[in-house]
């Protein structure tokens, strides 16, 4: 499904050049649940951003279902994200001015073509993560766990082929973190491909494969029994 070939990402600011990713090659198959681990600043989020097409590699190629996305236009990448990807963030990133239902609807808003009843899809997604009763509330009126579940609903409402989760439990307590992991595992069991960045070894252990990154290099890729 995903193939990264000799991917590098360097940042340049004034006189300093920083290499965030160095010659990373990686393949992720349809239906996998991959956890990415590593210390802070090792390049985990950069890798996730490139997988999510909100950042571009400096070198190398990125193939998604055989399609080379490396040189795609901004508009094409935007549609790619709208049609195929779902994002979950550590700090939820719900839009403060929109209700929970409206936030979840954002996951469908930028898709081209007829989508049938958005309301029905939004309601189904909210029910799936258990925030249906909070549809008309604003994010600040919800607990952290509820906000993250709403963010997951936004990520899955369009039934994307790939879900990218950047430390989805990082801002949650143990109980809420466990609930989020259960949801992610359920989604993976239902066929979704998930790539998750995490600091938590116990959460990483629940993924089907674990990838370790250090100083921008991929140092290990280990299949795990779930």
């Amino acid at each position: 499904m995903i193939e990264l070939k000799s991917l590098s990402r360097r940042y340049r600011s004034d006189e300093i050049e920083t290499t965030a990713l160095h010659d990373v090659s990686l393949t992720i198959r349809q239906g996998e649940f991959v956890a990415i681990m590593g210390p802070s600043g090792c390049g985990k989020s950069t890798l996730l951003n490139i997988l999510g097409t909100i950042d571009r590699p400096t070198e190398g190629r990125y193939l998604f279902d055989g399609e080379d996305l490396t040189a795609s236009s901004e508009a094409a990448l935007a549609q790619h994200r709208a049609q195929r990807l779902g994002f979950i963030f550590q700090s939820f990133n719900l839009v403060d001015d929109l209700t929970i239902a409206e936030n979840i609807e954002l996951g469908l808003l930028y898709r081209k073509g007829r989508q049938g009843s958005r309301r029905a899809l939004v309601e189904a997604a909210m029910d799936r993560v258990g925030v249906g009763h909070r549809a008309r509330h604003f994010p600040h009126q919800l607990s952290g766990g509820q906000q993250q579940r709403a963010a997951i609903a936004r990520a899955i409402v369009g039934e994307p082929s790939l879900i990218l989760a950047d430390e989805p439990t990082g801002n949650l307590d143990t109980e809420n973190g466990a609930q989020v992991m259960e949801i992610l595992k359920g989604l993976n069991a239902a066929g979704a491909t998930i790539v998750m960045v995490t600091h938590s070894p116990s959460h990483a252990d629940q993924a089907g494969r674990r990838i370790d990154i250090l100083d921008g290099r991929l140092v290990a890729s280990v299949a795990q029994a779930i």
């Binding site: 989020s45 935007a78 049609q83 990133n93 001015d97 954002l106 808003l109």
Partner: protein, 815 residues
């Protein structure tokens, strides 16, 4: 998309009401000012729109090139000009409008009105809208009159008056006229006064001595050309026409070098005076500046708060929104904000129009059935300007990179460029505010200067009675009246003259030549002549510089001497301006000198100070005064009565003068007002425009303050953590307050440096239109800056102090 735009717009109001209110208030104020001044501009520039022939009609104009005479085109013509034009150019189509003061009698009541003597095809020429009657025949008979629906209602209580009669006294006597048609009321923005029209007959014109006197102006002549090129082509032939027709009337000069005839497009007549045009244009510019200031606010607040939406933009982009979609979203939100601001601005205009009309001496109004297209057009302009202003914030927001925004804990704010842009825009705003304050002070200074200036005579305690030149008034009635007025307690002096302060109905100019030196080549200077009765200078309070005043005791002073021969010398008094124009070294040198004035020998026996009777924008004309001891027998339309009084208020004096008039001339209405009230016609427009400018400037200052407050509130909240840190490190509250307030006062100080030279240039240009401008000192510039600084301090001072007083612990937790 539309739903998304409306939701975002609505949430911005419900969740950040202060921000939204400041944004909307500033925009609405700008829109309201722009709308009001657009209304005024439209009113002033759309005169005579009532006639469908507006584009084809031209008013006859004339310009004189004579020393001592203003060289500007004025609308008006010699009475017989159209006949002479038709004789040389048979295809010329034209009509004349000769206004006459008349008295309308209804029972015992007599009312002064204006009647227009017009050519028979006048109604058809202008396509005057009629309520009743036939335009082709209504003016066919001199026994008929066409009146306006306003006049019909005034005298009959209804507009259904065709066939009824009106009894009128005019120069030809008292007669009864049948009403043949009723015209619809013309809009207020019309120079034509068509209350009462009657046929101009050859019999009537034959009685007018100066009908074919080149150089005279009696009436308005209008021409019609199907295409502008036709007007221009005929105008090009007019110098030759003038030379042919004038011949040697002006002596040896080439006539067309002294007098040129013009065709002035009807739409340009109202603002023919370049100074008036400039005043209207200036107010239009003030409207545009007010809108620009409001849009600057919008850009400032939108870009400053862009950081607050950065995370939203990043999320939307991550979820698949392209930059184009986001730009559409933000421009859509701007369009909704501008549309709402327009509606609020429109409501403000509706509520404020009575106040603005009173302050500006206007009669502006909005009729949505008639003005719908105009309102839509102005909305289009405001929306287009608003969207143009919103482009930068929209593009700035849409350009945020999601990966960077989501990785950062601080919200971006447009970077160094954004901060500099906002500061530059605040500087622009306050430069406009400072300039407006300086100009406002300059205008007020000039108005006060004009009111306090020495006019060369005393303006208070002086009453002008124009009824003595009313139609049908006999010499005996005038004499009886003057006798009665002299007996009124408090009356100090009574006189009669052909001219009075702010009365220009009789304006005669002729050339003068010095006889004490050899004739000079070229055109002789022109002097403005006044005929004066006994006690003229005493009644006015005029000041004699040298020599003596004219009176009945000196035989040679009387201008109407039945035994006069071509060699008879008449004594005259001249003004200081005449001394200069005639090139006498001093008033003393002018004494006893002989001049030829319009073919008559005159001797200068006195020189008086200049007396300003007319507009403060015009030079005081060089005057020559002729005396007559028997003003009651002057031509009927000359003698205006001037009464000097003291110890009685104006209203009581008016009552006494009116009572005396009713006894002396019961069938002629009393007409008169104080000199101050009469002169106000020149000063009121200046005051009105100054008031309008002040309102516009106040709105601009308000908009600037709203913008400054919004920006200060935003920046202060962004710097809350810095405030906490500074206080932890030992800074006191006043030190922190000075830091925060100083940050916002710095742009105001820079704005002063930009505004001062601009304001100086604009003020000097504006003052150049006055004959006696007030001096421009540094005081008004400093005062303007101080006012802007005070306004700025009042705006941001509270915010800065409140932020500085916050406890460091709370401030450090803010992020």
């Amino acid at each position: 998309m539309l739903r998304s735009i409306l939701v975002a717009f609505w949430r911005s109001f419900t969740r950040r009401p202060l921000d939204a209110a400041l944004n909307l208030l500033g925009l609405s104020l700008g829109v309201a000012t722009f709308l009001t001044l657009s209304l005024l501009y439209r009113f002033e520039t759309s005169y005579e729109r009532w006639t469908p022939e507006r584009g084809k009609i031209y008013a006859g104009g004339v310009a004189y090139n004579i020393p001592g005479f203003t060289h500007a085109t004025r609308v008006g013509a010699m009475g017989g000009l159209l006949e002479e034009m038709k004789a040389d150019y048979p295809d010329v189509r034209g009509v004349r409008d000769w206004p006459q003061l008349v008295t309308v009698h209804r029972g015992a009541a007599a009312t002064a009105e204006q009647m227009e003597l017009v050519d028979p095809e006048f109604l058809d020429f202008f396509q005057v809208p009629l309520l009743a009657g036939d335009a082709r025949t209504a003016l066919a008979d001199p026994g008929k009159v066409v009146i306006s629906e306003d006049l019909a209602r005034k005298y009959f209580g209804t507009s259904d008056v065709v066939g009824r009669t009106l009894e009128v006294t005019e120069t030809e006597g008292r007669a009864t006229y049948a009403i043949s048609a009723v015209s619809k009321a013309l809009p207020k923005n019309s120079e034509l006064k068509l209350d009462m029209l009657r046929l101009l007959t050859p019999t009537r014109t034959a009685k007018e001595e100066s009908w074919h006197h080149w150089g005279s102006i009696q009436l308005q002549t209008y021409y019609k050309f199907d295409r502008p090129e036709q007007a221009r082509a005929l105008e090009a032939q007019l110098p030759a026409f003038v030379d042919r027709r004038v011949g040697k009337t002006f002596g040896d000069v080439v006539p067309h070098e002294m007098l040129s005839l013009k065709f002035v497009p009807l739409r340009d007549v109202h603002l023919l005076d370049a100074k008036q045009r400039a005043a209207v244009d200036t107010l239009g510019v003030v409207g545009i500046v007010a809108l620009a200031l409001a849009l600057i606010n919008y850009v400032n607040l939108a870009t400053a708060r862009a950081g607050l939406r950065a995370r939203e933009v990043a999320v939307r982009k991550t979820l698949g929104a392209g930059p184009g979609t986001l730009r559409t979203q933000f421009l859509g939100e701007a369009a909704v904000t501008i549309a709402l601001a327009f509606l609020i601005g429109l409501a403000v205009v509706e509520l404020a129009l009575p106040l603005i009309n009173a302050a500006g001496g206007l009669s502006l109004g909005l009729d949505y059935r008639r003005d719908g297209a105009w309102v839509a057009g102005v909305f289009g302009v405001v929306l287009a300007a608003g969207l143009l202003a919103a482009v930068y914030p929209a593009f700035m927001l849409a350009a945020f990179k999601p990966a960077q925004v989501l990785a950062s804990s601080r919200a971006p704010s447009g970077g160094r460029f954004g901060a500099r842009l906002r500061e530059a825009l605040v500087v622009c705003q306050f430069a406009a505010v400072v300039a407006a304050f300086v100009l406002m002070l300059g205008f007020l200074g000039q108005i006060r200067h004009m009111q306090d200036a020495d006019f060369g005579y005393r303006r208070d305690g002086l009453f002008l009675v124009t009824a003595t030149r009313g139609v049908g008034v006999t010499p005996e009635q005038r004499n009886a009246y003057w006798e009665a007025v002299r007996r009124i307690p408090g009356v100090i002096a009574v006189t009669a003259s052909s001219n009075a302060p702010a009365d220009d109905s009789f304006n005669s100019n002729s050339t003068a030549t010095r006889l004490d030196r050899a004739a000079r080549p070229g055109l002789s200077p022109t002097l403005n002549v006044s005929s004066i009765g006994p006690d003229y200078f005493q009644a006015l309070g005029g000041r004699l510089i040298v020599g003596r005043l004219l009176d009945q005791q000196h035989g040679g002073d009387e201008q109407y001497d039945p035994k006069a021969t071509p060699d008879t010398v008449t004594n005259v008094v001249i003004s200081r301006a005449t001394v200069k124009l005639m090139e006498y070294a001093s008033p003393e040198e002018a004494l006893d000198k002989l001049m030829d004035f319009s073919g008559r020998k005159v001797r200068i026996v006195g020189v008086v100070e200049d007396m300003r009777f007319y507009s403060p924008m015009e030079k005081v004309p060089a005057k020559i005064y002729f005396f007559s001891g028997l003003p009651a027998w002057w031509p009927a339309d000359w003698p205006i009565t001037m009464v000097r009084y003291s110890g009685m208020d104006d209203a009581a004096m008016r009552t006494r003068l009116e009572t005396a008039w009713r006894q002396a001339a019961p069938s002629t209405p009393f007409e008169g007002k104080t000199a101050l009230a009469n002169l106000d016609r020149y000063y009121k427009p200046q005051r009105d425009r100054s008031n309008l400018f002040s309102l516009g400037a106040a709105a601009g200052a308000g908009i600037g303050c709203i913008g400054l407050y919004g920006l200060a509130a935003f920046n202060t909240s962004r710097r809350a953590r810095e405030v906490g840190l500074r206080k932890v490190l030992g800074a006191s509250s006043p030190q922190v307050a000075r830091l925060l307030i100083g940050q916002f006062l710095r742009p105001i100080l820079i704005a002063c440096l930009i505004a001062w030279p601009l304001a100086f240039w604009a003020l000097r240009r504006w003052l150049s239109q006055f004959d006696d401008p007030v001096g421009i000192g540094p005081g008004i510039f400093l005062a303007g800056a101080a006012a802007a600084l005070a306004v700025g301090l009042a705006t941001v001072g509270g915010l800065g102090w409140a932020a500085a007083a916050t406890s460091p612990g709370k401030a450090l937790r803010s992020e």
